[in-house]
Structure formats: C-alpha cells, structure tokens
Amino acid sequence: MTSFLRLYFNRLLPQLIALGIIVAAVSLVFPGFLNLQIQNGRLYGSLIDILNRGAPVVLLAIGMTVVIATKGIDLSVGAVMAICGATAAAAITSGHSLAATLLITLGVGILCGLWNGVLVAVLDIQPIIATLVLMVAGRGVAQLITEGAILTFNDPDLVFIGSGSFAGLPMPVVIWLIFGILTALLVRRTALGMLIEAIGVNRQASTLSGVLTPVLLIAAYVLSGLCAAIAGIIAAADIRGADANNAGLWLELDAILAVVVGGTSLLGGRFSIAASVLGAIIIQAINTGILLSGFPPEFNLIIKAAIIVFILVLQSPRFRTAFAFLVPARGARNPSERAAK
C-alpha cells in the first residue's frame, strides 16, 4: 500500500513542484498570500480563493480528462456550462424547487454530453468538430433561454451552492472535492479506467477484445457534460444570475490546459484525475497570482503564457530525462526511443 502511495505521489510530483514554485513566487510579490483566517465560520484567504475560483475549471477538467483519455476532446464544455446555468436560473425563477432545478439542470448537461457522445461514437465524427457544433450552437441555446440578459435569482438555497460554506470550506470547493473523489473512485475502483485507457490507445484493438467501445465513449462525453452542468450551476449560483453570454467563455481551453499540465497526453491513454485537478489549481493559482500582483492587465496574457511554457518545459519528457536527477524518474522512459518505436 505504501508503495502504491509512493507511486501516486511520484506521478503527481511535477505538478506539486510547479504549484509550489508558483505559490512561492506569488508570496514573494504579495506577502499576505499564505495568510489564512477564519471569518464568518469559514476559512478565508487567497489560498482558499484559488480553490474556490478554480472550481469550474477543476470540474471541467475532471470530465475533460476522461474524454481526452479516450483520445477525444470536448470543446463544448464552456457552452454547456452556459446552457446549464441558464437552465438552472430559469427553473428556479419559474418556481421549481431546488431539487427539481438541480435534477433538470444535471439532466440537461447529461443530454448535451449524450449528443456529443453520439456524434463521436455513433456517427464517427472527429471529436473536435463534433463538439465544435455544440460549442457554437450551445451558447445560442443558452441565450435563447435567457434572451441575452442576465437572468438573476435570489433563491437562498441555490445561492448557497455558490457562496455558502460547509465545514469551513466554500461550497464549490466541497462540491468539486466530493465529485472529484467520487469520479476517481468510479474509474479506479471499477475497471472503467483501464477500459477507457484501452480505447484511447487503440480503439480497434479494444473493440476486438470485446470492450464496449461506443457505450464507453458516450459515457465519457456524458460525464463531461455532467461536469459542465455542475460547473454551470456553481458559476450561476456564484453571481446569483445566469450570464449566458459570458459563463464559461473560453473555459474549455483552460480545462484542456489543466489536463495537459496534469500530464495526461492529448493522444489518449493513461490519465490521472488527481493530476488534472492539480493542473486546474495551478492554472487558477496563476490567474489569482496575476490579479494579486498588481501588474497592469495588458501583461496578464504574457505572464500567463510564460508561466505555462515554463511548466510545460519542466514536464516535457526531454527535459525530464535531461534533468532526471531532479525528478525521481520512476518508470520514466527514454523519449527518443519511445518516439522511434
């Protein structure tokens, strides 16, 4: 068991190091960064902000990880977030109970995932294009629901999901923690994880081995849709309104970035949900760090690009072999040979 934990730790080590470097760098610029205090019965501080603000991307990254593991990609998650946020707001303002609202919204998210999944698995359309359809049309659907305005609501229960707290942690953090752990258990305690990886590496060989490829593919996109729905609810609850125009805008790129920073290959196969979650947190740490640093906003993108390139270079297989002594290279492979095979 301990060796298992060690393996796990080793897998996450590069991400942990990157996070550590960023946190250290930001606390240099902004000394109050690490302060944590209890306020109104919940933890309060920049670190908590990172976990809290990172919630949507973390959730999207969880679903995206599984989709990417199947060698797919889901560009529609931002739009699905908007649809689901709008659905939730519309449902709650038209008088549905919280439970009904959540059910309807999650249902809509699952439906969106189903659509993507069917396009990819049954109609055999390339994932980028298949999900691009919903990415373009989805935001229109969301605006159709809100008629382009911000649909505000004040239902305290729904608002609680966005800004309440539980056990000292903001609700969004609690939600993604639970959901992330559940998903990780679901894929690792069952055979799902391995079967999904098999599909991602070699779909044809998996099918010939009796893996239910289409169903699993659809399931991956459904999971992604579900994640986007939860993220959409959180985003709407956070601002007490559904902003169909901007909710989740370009977040799909952040989610993909998070997965890659987490070390899952875009070519499918091996994946780690924990690493993707860490990746999302890293990205949020960058964003929050930029906000706290007080640089003029014109520099935001350059700083972000520079940090991302830095992290990716740290992680690149070439760099890792060159500096194998820095990162304990358990199971690390020789990259050039790998490519040549």
């Binding site: 109609l123 055999d124 359309i125 390339q126 980028i128 294009i129 691009l132 359809v133 919903l134 990415m135 373009v136 049309a137 989805g138 935001r139 229109g140 659907v141 969301a142 605006q143 159709l144 008629e147 382009g148 790129l253 993909i256 970035l257 890659v260 290959s265 875009l266 070519l267 014109e298 520099f299 935001n300 993108l301 350059i302 700083i303 972000k304 690009a305 520079a306 991302i308 390139v309 990716l312 270079v313 690149s316 297989p317 070439r318 760099f319 990259p335 490519a339 040549a340 095979k341």
Partner: protein, 322 residues
C-alpha cells in the same frame, strides 16, 4: 474516381447545392457582388487556413493564428504610425517575425516533444499578449500606400469586385496546392501525418519538416494579418479572436482529417466558401436573433458534416458493390 478524392468532391457538391438553394430563395445572391464579397471578406481567413491545412495534414494543430493576425495588425499600425518606414518594409519585418514565431513553436513541438495543441495555445496567449503590450488602442493606418493597394481591384460586370486581397487569397491557395502536391516538402508533410515514427524511419527529416510547417503557418498567419490590416486599415489587439476555430472548421469541412495524413488544400477553399455562404445566407435572411444565428450556424455546420459523411458512405458502398 479514387476514393481519396471523395471527401473533396462531396464538399464541392454540397457547396454548389447549398449555393443553388440560397439563390432559389434570394436571387440576389447570384450577383457578382456577392461572389466578389465572398472572396474579399474571407481573404484573411482563407490565407490563414492554407497554413492551417498544412499543419493539420501533418497531424498537428495551430491555435495561435488568430493572435498572430492581431499582433501583425497592431505591429504594422504602430510601426507605420510612429516611424516613417515604408509599408513594404514593415510587411517584410512582420512576416519575418511571424515566420520566426511559427518556427519557434515548431522547434518546441519537435525538440521538447510537447503536443502542438498546448504549445500553440501558449503561442496564442503570447502573441495576443504582445499585441496588448504594443498597444491596447485600435490604431488606424493612414498611410497612402494602403490606399493605393486598396484601389487595386478588378471590376466584374454587375458591380462586384475581385480585390487585391481576394486575388491574393486565390494566389496563396494556388501556391499552397503546388507546395502540397508538387514539392518534396509537401510529400513530407503528408508523411508526418501518416506517422512520425514511420516517417523518421523512412528518412524524412522530421525536425526540419515540423519546423517548416509551423513556420509556414506563421508566415501565412502574418500574411493574413497584413491582409486583415488592409481590409480594416487598422491594427487592433482584440481583432481576429477565434479565427483559428473558423480556420480549423474550414479545413475539416474541406475534407481534411484532423488525425493528419490526408486532405487537400483545395478542399479548404471550398470549406471557406461554405462558411462564407452560411454567413451570407443568414445576413440575407436578416430575421434571426443573435441566439438563433449561433444555433443556426451550429446546425448548418452539423448538416454539412452529416451530408459529407452521407455522400462518402453511399459512394463507398457503391464502389464496394461494383
């Protein structure tokens, strides 16, 4: 017909069909004006999409082109505003920068073995960031040379025009087709798309080819930026957001596989025209709200993809029977 020409033919058939339907509803759409506009308005997108086609055929992707277009525009505007450098020299400078930028991304992709999606995503942030740093204002370009260039067009009967930039796009497509099918480099691009490892074993210079592909994409994005700056006579750091997705869509509608290894530059041109057609149709209709516009674009995209699949499927079946 060879099976590999199927997607291309299917796309062309769909375009003609769609155009005929549009004309049936709005006879005005047959005017040379609309045809001229289709070329002029999509010139920058088309030029960038040629680069994207090469990248995608090689099995990669380039998300940075929209930002490079914006950067190019801002760079030109700033240079022409604040110095007395002649636009042609500024063009050369910016093309050199864009090419180097692309080459650098290609080098990172190859030597650090990082996925193109992510490298070019970082490139996308970086190029737009650079544009912001140069200037956040939109800067008009008032240089007389621009006016000269814009005055160059070929008038069609019926009021339509083939403008310089529209013509340039066609030229770039022609050159792109030549490069893809008539040079060793072009074959190497296809070879990379067929499998990097195999290509390497067959003696394809993988490093040089990868770098050149992204350099070419950078160069064409730069050229597209110049065209865009001619088109709008301005440089603006928020311009051309999301152009990469439009370009990818055009490439894919044009029958190129995102997995690499197969596709046609000519198909991309049809893809661009199909997208332009969808937009023109929606404007001619003019009754759609913002949201229905988005939904309809999505659905039409979906319909085109389905139709293409359908045509290919049916003719495969027929070929097998035969």
């Amino acid at each position: 017909m060879k099976p590999k020409y199927l997607p291309l033919t299917a796309t062309l058939v769909i375009f003609l069909l769609g155009y005929a339907l549009c004309v049936a509803q709005y006879p005005n759409m047959l005017s040379t004006r609309v045809i001229g506009n289709l070329l002029t308005d999509n010139a920058f997108l088309g030029i960038a999409a040629v680069g994207m086609t090469f990248v995608i055929i090689s099995g990669g992707i380039d998300l940075s082109i929209g930002s490079v277009i914006a950067f190019t525009g801002v760079f030109l505007a700033v240079v022409l505003e604040h110095t007395s450098i002649h636009p042609l020299i500024a063009f050369a400078m910016v093309l050199a920068i864009a090419t180097l930028f692309g080459a650098a991304m290609g080098a990172i992709i190859h030597y650090l073995e990082m996925p193109p999606f992510i490298v070019t995503l970082a490139g996308m942030f970086l190029a737009r960031g650079m544009a912001f740093v140069l200037s956040i204002d939109s800067i008009p370009i008032k240089h007389p040379f621009y006016a000269t260039l814009k005055a160059l067009y070929f008038k069609l009967p019926g009021g339509g025009r083939i403008t310089l930039i529209g013509g340039l796009m066609l030229l770039v497509f022609a050159i792109g087709i030549l490069i893809a099918h008539r040079t060793r480099f072009g074959t190497n691009v296809y070879a990379l798309g067929g499998g990097t490892a195999t290509a390497r074993l067959m003696g394809v210079p993988v490093a040089a080819t990868t770098i050149r592909i992204y350099a070419l994409s950078g160069l064409l994005a730069g050229l597209s930026g110049i065209v865009f700056s001619l088109y709008t006579s301005a440089g603006y750091s928020l311009a051309a957001v999301g152009v990469e997705l439009d370009a990818i869509t055009a490439v894919v509608i044009g029958g190129t596989l995102l997995t690499g290894g197969s596709g046609f530059v000519a198909g991309t041109l049809v893809g661009i025209l199909i997208q332009g057609l969808i937009q023109t149709y929606i404007t001619f209709d003019g009754s759609l709200s913002s949201w229905w516009t988005k939904i309809l674009i999505g659905l039409l995209l979906f319909a085109f993809i389905l139709l293409q699949k359908g045509i290919i499927f049916v003719s495969r079946q027929r070929q097998q029977r035969a």
